[in-house]
Symmetry: C2
Subunit: 213 residues, 2 copies
DNA sequence: TTTTTCATCGTACAGCGGTACTATGAAAAT
DNA sequence: ATTTTCATAGTACCGCTGTACGATGAAAAA
């Protein structure tokens, strides 16, 4: 065998180029030639690593999901260690909002895929329900844990509250992306909701950890 | 002058065909030929009434907005007359969810336009911020009125609560459209939120009006 | 009756997008 | 040294899409 290139690496290179194009000009502007140009390679190469455009789009969607997973892990791993459910979920949802440029690109492309999934039957629908479903499950688990610890009212339906939070953050994210609202304003709304969800306990001066302003 | 056709009528006919195509196969499948076929006329006619595709898309967006306006008016006009803020807003948001097929089509196409607006600078962006902004204003006004009447806690920020409600309903609508959740489940979450927003007053047996099941 | 105006049609053209086919250099395997 | 294998390149083809350009019938206007 000759030059032996790492296929996986090339593929992520191409996918990243795709995401850049999609974030800048929209998913409808994602053409094999545009992706190839953005990736600095020829059209044939893109075809070589992804036989068809559908494969490329599918792979990109998968990578987006695992990328979001990685970002969340990093974010949540960096939290001060006595993690309250409040802090955990706030970090969770902050990461879901399009605050910086990278996050904006991610959110935009993800939403574009979501719209595709509404009509395209198989290609995008299957991996699309999986991601948010898993997220919702994780969130619900955290909420149930919070209920056990007394941080969250047991009257609430954890699954529904999780769905509520995710839908809210998604909707806020969209409104930020269309320029209707700033990311800060969206954060304010999210935080207000969280503060009602997790009412402040009696202030004990010994804990100086989760003191957000 | 010969046959003298009502242009406005023809235009809405074409636009309705566009919406049908977009709802069934996605906005990316909206081609002049497809719209013409769906409308039962020839390609030239569509060109005749809308000089360019951009004009057609723009006109369709405008119509979508005024259509939603009309639907809301009809819905809210049909409410039992001592309208509580709770009932008003519940109707408002129910109408925003993709419950029946018409509503689903509307929501899908609207979201498709939203995604377009995230990258296309002028064409869709301007009329797109206007619609939701106005809605948010109306909702906030209703909420403030409810605060004056004592139905809503004055601690709340009416503008933020309005944004919260709209973002939530949008997010829930999207999750319904991608098949992650049923419309009923979305309604349940919405209703739960509204019941926390408008805590039930002392039950007075003389009012038998807003008695949802 | 002739002419103008309007709605409608057929068709063509240029560009672009996905896909396929073939070639080529180079490194490993034989 | 020859052969095989792999990464890369060029290019061509076909279909689709937006747009433009004429043609036609018919009804109103002259």
């Amino acid at each position: 065998m000759p030059k032996r290139v790492d296929h996986a690496q090339r593929r992520v290179h191409v996918i990243d180029a795709l995401v850049r194009v999609a974030a800048a000009e929209g998913l409808h502007a994602v053409t094999l030639r545009a992706v190839a140009a953005e990736a600095g390679m020829s059209l044939n190469l893109v075809q070589y690593y992804f036989q068809t455009k559908a494969h490329l789009l599918h792979a990109a969607l998968e990578r987006l999901e695992q990328q979001s997973h990685a970002r969340w892990s990093a974010r949540l791993g960096g939290l001060p260690l006595p993690v309250t459910a409040h802090a955990f979920i706030e970090a969770f949802l902050t990461e879901a909002l399009p605050t910086d440029e990278a996050s904006r690109a991610f959110h935009l492309v993800w939403t574009s895929y979501a719209v595709l999934a509404m009509t395209d039957p198989d290609l995008a629908a299957q991996p699309f329900a999986a991601g948010p479903d898993r997220l919702e499950g994780q969130l619900a688990a955290v909420l149930r844990q919070a209920q056990r610890e007394g941080a969250l009212d047991r009257q609430r339906n954890a699954a529904n509250e999780a769905a509520h939070l995710l839908s809210l953050s998604h909707g806020l994210g969209t409104s930020v992306l269309v320029g209707q609202r700033t990311a800060d304003s969206a954060m304010e709304i999210l935080r207000a909701h969280l503060e009602r969800l997790f009412p402040v306990p009696a202030p004990s001066p010994e804990s100086a950890v989760g003191q957000a302003h």
